[in-house]
């Protein structure tokens, strides 16, 4: 089926394009930009006048909660939420129940995602069996079953020796390892950034060293083993410096950050609102601003939603007793666009960090509308004002501090492989 997306403003940082033009799609892929190729005389036409044509977003952290925690979310519900936010490719963490440490679970997630017909889903495989940090998982089999990379998520390793061996083994087979730098003996029991706010409110703190000590250890082991490495969800200013130094010394590592760590700081703790309980925690404003500088400098190349849907009761408790995480995948783009005012970022940088940047971190063929790419894209109205409501949400999750917030700019429709999978009602 041939499709012509007509007269929209096509913005694709991967090709350095920002122009009002037409996009031509045939057999699931982009076949031309600008001039119509032969045979498009009778193609279906979508008029995109006044709208932006953007590559579908690539979100490196969307918990689907299936299998095992369907009271929080499912592949179908969270997939629908993702495409309503313009996310066409997502990576899901291995902490399902059962954990993604066998090819069967990896295959199950992908089969269900195919059935749902929503975003392209790439699971992370567990680095160790049961994420217990002791015995290596069948990394090669997991990769063959579709796992895009391996990670022990935020679960601690039994020892640095096990970590070192896991990395050596992964390096043997040229596998990508995703690190969530966290020294659990320092973060254990903590629920908020260790600082004035947590001290004043009597909340157990997580010091920045919980992240930086683990990050330094991980970087040394990456250097030694030569494993391909990605660092997920940085939260500290010092971490940005450490990744920058590692890159400067020739280490080929990448890093991402959750959008809420770029927008919020620990001042929000004053209301004891458990919706702000996230891991890693919202840190000081200096940390937040340095993370934004890290994006400007290219040290951090991806912004993710770190989408973690929860049932209502998971957040209905005093702050420390709530489960961590926010469910923001469907507002990822308008949230990230707040950084244009907040953090003085240009739209091209924001969009890169949501498309080709994360795709490059994981070697995904996504995040670009170059000729020959799969036609994963969205139509975006940059001027419309709308309010994201609890009742109107698509995620099964009940947990976001942004319900009721007005945003400027909205995803109007989303296409995957040239097929429309979402349109604003």
């Amino acid at each position: 089926m041939k499709l012509r997306i007509q007269n929209g403003r096509l913005i694709d940082p991967s090709q350095d394009i920002d122009a009002i033009t037409d996009l031509f799609i045939d057999n699931q892929k982009v076949v031309a930009i600008g001039e119509a190729p032969e045979g498009f005389e009778n193609a279906d036409v979508v008029d995109a006048t006044g709208q932006w044509i953007l590559p579908g977003l690539v979100d490196l952290a969307v918990a689907l909660r299936e299998p095992g925690q369907t009271q929080k979310g499912s592949i179908a519900t969270e997939g629908r939420a993702a495409v309503s936010g313009g996310v066409t490719t997502l990576v899901c963490p291995p902490d399902t129940r059962p954990i993604v440490d066998t090819p069967a679970v990896a295959a199950l997630i992908q089969d269900k995602a195919d059935d749902a017909g929503m975003a392209n889903v790439f699971p992370l495989g567990a680095l160790t069996q049961g994420l217990e940090g002791a015995q290596l998982s069948n990394m090669v089999a997991l990769t063959e079953a579709g796992c895009i990379a391996l990670s022990n998520h935020r679960h601690p390793m039994a020892s640095t020796k096990v970590l070192s061996r896991a990395l050596e083994y992964a390096a043997t087979h040229d596998l990508l390892v995703v690190f969530h730098p966290d020294e659990s003996s320092l973060s254990e029991g903590g629920c908020a950034h260790e600082g004035l706010m947590s001290t004043m409110h009597g909340l157990a703190g997580i010091p920045e060293e919980a992240e930086t000590i683990a990050l330094m250890r991980d970087l040394l082991l990456v250097e030694k083993t030569g494993v391909r490495a990605h660092f997920a969800r940085l939260s500290c200013a010092k971490s940005v410096e450490m990744i920058a130094d590692a890159k400067a010394s020739g280490l080929d590592v990448t890093a991402d950050v959750a959008v809420h760590n770029l927008l919020l700081n620990d001042q929000v703790l004053s209301g004891f609102d458990g919706h702000y309980h996230v891991l890693p925690p919202l840190r000081s404003d200096e940390d937040r601003l340095t993370l934004i500088e890290g994006i400007k400098a290219g040290v951090i190349s991806a912004i993710c939603s770190d989408h973690q849907p929860h049932e209502k009761m998971a957040k209905t408790a005093p702050f420390a007793a709530t489960e961590p995480g926010m469910a923001n995948v469907e507002i990822l783009l308008p949230l990230a666009m707040q950084l244009m005012d907040e953090g003085d970022l240009d739209f091209s940088t924001v969009l890169t960090c949501l498309t080709s940047g994360p795709a490059a971190c994981f070697g995904l063929e996504a995040g670009s509308l170059s000729v020959g790419s799969f036609a994963d894209f969205m139509l975006f109205d940059s001027t419309v004002r709308w309010t994201w409501s609890y009742e109107g949400r698509r995620t099964k999750g009940h947990n976001s501090p942004y319900f009721g917030e007005e945003f400027v700019g909205r995803v109007m429709s989303t296409y995957i492989s040239g097929q429309r999978v979402y349109q604003v009602a």
């Binding site: 001290t199 004043m200 009761m313 408790a317």
Partner: protein, 233 residues
């Protein structure tokens, strides 16, 4: 917790007096219960213990007659103490500019300096010329958490004895929120001595808590306004 709350509401309670191990628990309950129930925070985690701080302020005022110009030391496990946090807030609100928090770095985080206190790691410097000494209870679990080597070393460095009390002003008063650990943070001589107002604190607690209960309930009876909460602010 929400289920417990709903059950207590169903019993037609007019007031909840809440003590809970989670910081922010009273705040949480105030947000989730019906507006006609008054919530009194009787201690939440490490966060706040407002009525204790109020009775301590009453005790200080009865003995010293004023707040401005006073020098006050709070000694011991500040990190885990909701009493210390509420006292610090009360004292700075009442205009006391010289509040010293005394203890090792493991028990006195540097962030307290940003809350209007002076941090001292040396007991003699901390007690020098103070008008009021507040000793805090030391929990035995602190040794397991590697925050302190032993009770005996803590007592040697930070315990209040006749000798260390001599560094304070001659008319200094000694306070403690109780229950006291004799020989751990305070010697029996001092706890039972002439400077001690520990039992006055207990007595003053009756008046303060009666007043709090009365004010909260009269608010309930006179109007349909939002619940009277006694929280940190």
């Amino acid at each position: 917790m929400l289920d417990t709350l709903k059950n207590l509401e169903a019993m037609q309670s007019d007031m909840f007096i809440v003590r809970h191990s989670d910081s922010g628990a009273a705040h949480f309950i105030a947000e989730h219960c019906t507006p006609n129930v008054a919530i009194i925070n009787a201690g939440d985690g490490r966060h706040a213990h407002p009525t204790q701080a109020m009775l301590d302020m009453l005790t200080i005022r009865r003995h010293k007659g004023r707040f401005d110009g006073l020098k006050i030391a709070i000694v011991g496990d500040i990190l885990h103490s909701r009493v210390a946090r509420s006292q610090l807030q009360a004292l700075t609100t009442l205009g006391v500019s010289d509040v010293r928090l005394v203890g090792p770095k493991t028990l006195v985080p540097s962030f307290f300096a940003e809350m209007g206190a002076t941090i001292c790691h040396d007991l003699e410097a901390g007690l020098k010329d103070v008008d009021v000494v507040v000793m805090l209870r030391l929990q035995k679990e602190r040794m397991k958490g590697a925050l302190l080597p032993s009770e005996s070393e803590f007592y040697r460095l930070y315990g209040l004895t006749e000798e260390s009390l001599s560094w304070a002003k001659p008319d200094a008063i000694v306070m403690h929120p109780g229950p006291i650990n004799r020989g751990v943070e305070i010697s029996s001589d001092v706890a039972d001595g002439k400077h001690s107002v520990i039992l006055d604190q207990v007595t003053n607690g009756i008046a303060v808590r009666m007043a709090v209960l009365s004010m909260a309930m009269s608010g309930q009876l006179q109007s349909d306004e939002s619940p009277a909460t006694k929280d940190e602010e």
